[in-house]
Amino acid sequence: MTRELTFAQAIEAALAQAMADDPRIIILGEDVHAIRRNLYARFGERRVRPAPISESAFLGAAVAAAMAGLRPVVDMYLVDFLGVAMDAILNHAAKVEAFSGGNWQVPLVVRAACGGGYGDGGQHEQSLWGWLAHIPGLSVVVPSNPADAGGLMLAALEHTGPVVYLEHKLLADYWLEFLGSGGRETVQYDVPARGARGPVPDVWRPAPLGSATIQRQGDDLTMVSVGVGVHRCLEAAQDLQAEGISAGVIDLRSVAPLDRKTLIAEVSKTGRLLVVDEDYESFGLSGELAAVVLEAGLNVKYGRVCTRETIPYARAEEDKVLPNKDRIINKANALMG
């Protein structure tokens, strides 16, 4: 770890390294000549291909292109827009390997920006990783820092099946600039500094899918999250320490496959599980983690801080609805009580 990159630079560097090594990798999606202009300038339009606003066609096409030998990276703009093209993911990309008796794989990366915190409304700020991870046959990764962002991109590209790669807009500066500030200096965002920029390896290696990292050790309580939520947990853990509470933080990195082993090992030490999930609360990641520890036979105290409703457009209201440090600390104290 000798150099520092931004979250966005890390993804691009890893992707460029992979594209240089593997001519089967192509990028396609709306506006990619502009959004991926550095890769477009280097690899040309044959490898970085702008598409019409036809998500169901180009995502559906990418599934079959992957089956036929290409390794497409499909840029979906926002994860919310997957709604338009969900059939390609739900009924095709995720199913082909199983339907073919394991004889045919879909090595596809679907890349999308996710998450809120910049006042763009509930049709542009969702997380949806739980909704996606619900589908068997799909991998879903959510990096929280530049090193993982690059490593998980390589892992996604090397994986034999479909991977949804979600980059949070508070971490990827170009998305925040494009959709949030638009070049204004009159707006501020709560960007986790350690997530937006950080040390990365000189040569990229894949970070394994389904492998969580322990971001902070703790004896009293285990907090689990992905993406920006990891940083909110770390901020809360810092404050909790001052109150004499030792809170650990696990970064799942991938929602599917899920690293059950690390989760169970850590929670069995503390006896308390607090899930912080920017995705919707009901029927999602937070409930799944509770099921995992129950199935393992652990007797734990459990709490969750998630998004319960449609994300409001108004910044002040949005801040209350998305998981924040105060809500995490309150819930942690409740679990300790």
Binding site: E30, A34, Y40, A41, F43, E45, S56, G119, Y313, E317
Partner: protein, 327 residues
């Protein structure tokens, strides 16, 4: 039209000041299209709006103060600060918007379906851009509206840009012929000419009310502020010495890396990035498509324009002050 333009200029100022968050897609440049269609709508007619819903809603008579408070994210806004400018809903006017490109197609069809059952003689209008006509749901909606003979007017605001991609580069064939292939009449109209829009819309709306089925209005227009406020292409055009150095370093470094496309392809790529920037700049300067300027020229000999414009300006200033609570 002028009220809408000045209102959106005020929105632009508040966005610049950081009082409005996120993206802001203005309808500046689309006013003549909205006016020519919306002023002929009747009680019980419905509107399916895209992410540029402000001009049609103002012209439909929705209180601009409520709109502005919504954009400011206030609890006393049109949708209590929950929706923002891309998600505006006015049940009394059967007006609903969406930030998903193409979604106004099925919504327009659905509003028309309800009219066919519940409000004979009423119709639905769907507003969208030419980029949306490449969406599956839009093409399916065109077909459905013909198959079910629905009273819906598809109003395509063609500015030539699909977000930041020139539409012709990602569109096969000719849009009008494509739509005609569904068995629907297409009317071409200059979207900066409100009279022409009014005439075309009048025929189409009468046809729909009489049970004659859908019509597609293809109206050429321009966007004064690009795709949205802070559009990177316009920013580069407007302050190149600030924007280009920030972008060029990474671009040139990436272009110079070994392994990649041939030199010819790389130069071709750089050229199309340059064309994209210059093209968008030319578009923003295409003043002949600005409906406000066009209308001014037409009207100046017939009415006391300065007086009228002053009146509208004062009206908008007052409503902005009311919305901000500074009155």
């Amino acid at each position: 039209m002028l009220r809408s333009r000045l209102f959106e200029k005020a929105v632009q100022d508040l966005w610049d000041q950081g009082k409005i968050s996120g993206e802001m897609h203005l309808g500046m440049g689309e006013e003549a299209i909205a006016a020519g269609v919306v002023c002929q709508m009747q009680s019980g007619d419905a509107m399916a709006l895209d992410h540029r819903g402000t001009p049609p809603l103002i012209m439909r008579g929705v209180d601009p103060v409520l709109l502005l408070r919504e954009f400011l994210g206030r609890p006393d806004g049109l949708c209590k600060g929950m929706g923002g400018h891309m998600h505006l809903f006015v049940p009394q006017e059967l007006a609903a918007s969406s930030g998903i490109v193409g979604a106004s197609g099925p919504a327009g069809v659905g509003f028309a379906l309800a009219a066919q059952y519940l409000r004979p003689g009423n119709l639905a209008v769907a507003f969208f851009g030419e980029g949306a006509v490449n969406q599956g749901m839009m093409m399916e909606s065109l077909n459905l509206s013909v198959a079910w003979n629905l009273p819906v007017i598809f109003v395509c605001k063609d500015n030539g840009w699909a977000i930041t991609t020139p539409s012709p580069q990602v569109t096969g064939g000719n849009l009008a012929q494509r739509v005609e292939g569904f068995g629907m009449p297409v009317t071409h109209v200059d979207g900066s000419d409100v009279e022409a829009v009014w005439q075309s819309a009048r025929t189409a709306m009468q046809r729909a009310r009489d049970g004659g089925g859908p019509t597609f209005l293809l109206a050429r227009c321009m966007h004064v502020e690009g795709h949205f406020l802070g559009d990177p292409l316009l920013r580069i055009g407007r302050s190149p010495w600030h924007e280009i150095p920030a972008m060029a370093g990474a671009l040139l470094r990436s272009m110079a890396r070994i392994k990649g496309a041939s030199l010819r392809d790389r130069i071709q790529g750089a050229r199309s990035i340059l064309d994209m920037i210059l093209g968008s700049n030319r578009d923003s300067l295409a003043r002949k498509f600005d409906p406000i300027l066009t209308s001014r020229q037409k009207l100046q000999e017939q009415v006391e324009l300065p007086e009228l414009e002053n009146e509208v300006r004062q009206e908008v200033e007052a409503l902005v002050a009311t919305a901000l609570g500074t009155l």
